[in-house]
């Protein structure tokens, strides 16, 4: 009788562990695909683009992030290759002049102030340090987003920021990075 109770207890624990470790991550995250089948790899290899050809700084030091359609259509006014993805992109976005609703993997919440200029121009960090190696990806990654908080899985957490700042002895005050 005693043994049966232990087995039931362990069965319950096992079921919870299974659900918590295997089922829960599937439930709490939702995935979204980029609207355009964009390949960083092709742009880097065939067109010889560098990160800052498209992801540029403005004169005031702010970072423009994902380029607007103007930038795309300056090359893709007509098809340059023969891929189906490019043809679809031109048909759906370039010709009707519709801005693609790009998904951003690293969108920080509203209360965070982050200056790309300080990190890239002053601290000479490589883009890959925080964004991973996007440049060699052949297909856009799927955006994995938390259903409750709405944060992307790729979003750098404050712990990650603090760890690096602590190493560099650059930790000053909360309002250095919050607005």
């Amino acid at each position: 009788m005693k043994l049966r109770g232990t087995i039931l207890f362990l069965a319950g624990a096992l079921a919870a562990l299974g659900a918590g470790w295997l089922g829960f991550p599937r439930v709490i995250y939702r995935t979204q695909a980029q609207p355009v089948d964009f390949s960083h790899k092709i742009h880097a290899e065939k067109a010889g683009s560098k990160c800052d050809d498209c992801h540029a700084f403005r004169a005031d030091g702010s970072f423009a992030g994902v380029p607007t359609l103007d930038k795309c259509s300056s090359c893709h006014a007509a098809a340059m290759g023969d891929t189906a993805a490019e043809k679809r992109f031109i048909e759906q976005y370039v010709t009707p002049q519709r801005e693609p609703a790009w998904l951003v993997y690293a969108r920080q919440p509203e209360n965070v102030y982050f200056s790309h200029a300080t990190h890239v121009k002053r601290a000479n960090l490589k883009c890959e340090r925080c964004h991973g190696d996007q440049g060699s990806a052949a297909a856009p990654r799927i955006l994995v987003e938390n259903r409750i908080s709405g944060y992307s899985l790729d979003l750098l957490s404050m712990d990650a920021c603090i760890a690096c700042h602590r190493e560099q002895h650059k930790e000053n005050s909360c309002l250095d990075c919050h607005k």
Binding site: R4, G5, L8, F9, L10, A11, G12, A13, L14, A15, A16, L17, A19, G20, W21, F24, P25, I28, R58, D60, S62, A64, P109, E110, N111, N146, I148, S149, G150, Y151
Partner: protein, 525 residues
């Protein structure tokens, strides 16, 4: 073997213990706290490229040069304004009291039914604009009357005087062109006459605590010339004549000769015959003054049609047959007339920063259409005319572009004025004397509540301030009563208001019934 209740509890207990070893509870705590940091329902500011645009403020004739900070095309901040109103002028298009819809078609139909013999008039509450000339041309064509609140506007030169007497004028509270007044203030000795402790009284070199022209006159005024008296109290114009003060006719930028030839004369409201108007069009869209309704009402025929071009329901819209929605600053291109302290001709534009809502109508264009005169390009026509007279830019197009970007054209100085004497004020036997708060634009940014609701810096528009002695028996809500009517107001006790004076807020309801020096009483509601 049968499952018992105890077995279920054992299983559940195991599940609970197991769950603690999974990410579930910890993740839920963290995610919900992250969710609460980005509280839903709190608006997110738009992101985008920060751009800068320059223009001029059209809220009052000061026309302060503004720099607008824009996210994309949306202005988010204005700098360069000389007052609290201009700093937040980019909020006006979104004001909850903004008039956005109106019976435009009905008003047009009513105007179309007018026969040429029926008297029509335009009351222009911001005279001296290009739109004012359009009104005058249209009234000439329709045989109508163009009414201006001040047919002979004057201008004061503050820079050439050593003593200034302010007779109740809000000289340091946004009067004239604030930047110009403050620059001149360094050089003149200021005497302020007024019962209420206004900012001007507090900052003046000498303060005479009585309403009206002081008697005897302050010695500095007579001995430390050249001197100037400022204000619209009776006797100020005569005093200026006696002092030989630098009073000029209000300068106006050059006007195409063709317009002058076919423009209706500027008429004062007093000169309009009683019950003489069948149609009255009021342009209060950029009003810089307010005429109490009890002065307008006697001029209307019994079946008069009153059409007002308004930005809110607060002004003449309360009395009009049709209240039509008009554009606010910064929605249209408009020129700004000269201010009371500008003695040289100026021509400057307020360029639009945001598009107007679809239903708004432009008063000058509607009136011009009645008379079949082209008005849409009137500003450009005048700019080209000015360019022809004094070419400061290589081409008319370059001149126009510079104007749109905030360039201020300056012309020749104006001539000494022939001022008209002011009317004496009627005597009264009411216990209090009204002193209205300085004029404010009809529509103010919702943030102005910082000044009068969330702090005590300014008197709220619908309030009156009384000496605590006069306010002693009154509740916080009472009725302000004058010879012209009554209005429910909030009563604010204020030790800086002397007994016997009621400092009245600037809401249209109060302005309709009380002007400076009127007799008043505040009674229980």
């Amino acid at each position: 073997m049968k499952n018992t209740r105890r077995d279920i509890f054992k299983f559940a207990g195991g599940a609970a213990a197991g769950a603690l070893l999974t990410p579930v509870p910890w993740r839920l705590i963290k995610d919900s706290s992250l969710w609460s940091e980005n509280w839903p329902g709190i608006p997110r500011p738009a992101r985008g490229e920060i751009r800068s645009k320059t223009t001029n403020c059209a809220l009052c004739p000061a026309g302060c040069p503004l720099r607008a900070r824009c996210v994309g095309d949306q202005p988010v901040a204005l700098t360069g304004a000389g007052c609290a109103f201009g700093v937040a002028a980019h909020h006006l298009p979104y004001h909850p009291a903004r008039l956005r819809q109106g019976p435009v078609e009905q008003a047009k139909a009513a105007l179309a039914k007018r026969t040429p013999s029926e008297p029509i008039a335009v009351l222009d509450l911001n005279p001296g604009r290009t739109a004012s000339w359009t009104f005058r041309r249209a009234m000439a064509a329709l045989d109508g009357t163009y009414i201006s609140p001040d047919p002979n506007p004057i201008a004061y030169d503050l820079h050439s005087v050593r003593t200034v007497l302010s007779v109740g004028a809000p000289l340091l509270e946004g009067w004239g062109t604030p930047a110009n007044v403050l620059a001149a203030r360094e050089k003149f000795y200021l005497v302020h006459a007024g019962a209420v402790e206004t900012p001007t009284a507090m900052l003046a070199d000498e303060w005479i605590r009585a309403e009206g022209l002081p008697d005897p006159l302050p010695r500095r005024l007579l001995e430390n010339g050249p001197s100037l008296a400022v204000g619209d109290a009776p006797g100020v114009a005569e005093l200026n004549r006696k002092l030989g003060a630098p009073v000029y006719a209000r300068p106006e930028a050059p006007v195409p000769d063709a317009w002058k030839k076919q423009a209706a004369p500027v008429t004062a409201l007093d000169a309009v015959p009683a019950r003489g108007l069948r149609f009255l069009l009021i342009d209060e869209s950029s009003a810089v003054t307010y005429i109490p309704w009890h002065l307008i009402e006697p001029k209307l025929a019994s079946d008069a049609v009153v059409i007002t071009f308004a930005v809110s329901r607060g002004g003449y819209a309360r009395h009009a047959t049709y209240a039509l929605p008009a554009p606010v600053f910064p929605e249209i291109t408009e020129d700004i007339p000269a201010a009371i302290d500008q003695t040289t001709q100026v021509f400057r534009l307020a360029a639009p920063l945001v598009p107007p809502p679809p239903a708004v109508v432009n008063a000058s264009e509607l009136v011009a259409a009645l008379a079949d005169i082209p008005a849409a390009a009137a500003l450009r026509e005048r700019a080209d005319f000015i360019h022809m007279q004094s070419p400061a830019h290589p081409t008319p197009d370059a001149f126009w572009q510079a104007l749109v970007d905030g360039y201020i054209w300056r012309g020749s100085p104006s001539l000494p004025a022939q001022s008209s004497p002011t009317q004496p004020r009627p005597a009264h036997d009411l216990p209090l004397t009204a002193v209205p708060a300085p004029w404010t634009p009809a529509l103010l940014s919702p943030l102005m509540t910082k000044l009068y609701e969330e702090s005590n810096l300014r008197l709220p528009p619908n309030a009156v301030a009384l000496n605590p002695r006069d306010a002693a028996a009154l509740p916080s809500r009472a009725v302000l009563q004058t010879l012209h009517g009554k209005c429910t107001v909030r009563v604010v006790p204020d030790a800086s208001v002397p007994p016997g004076i009621v400092l009245a807020g600037s809401s249209p309801g109060i302005r309709d019934i009380c002007t400076h020096g009127d007799g008043a009483k505040v009674v229980l509601a």
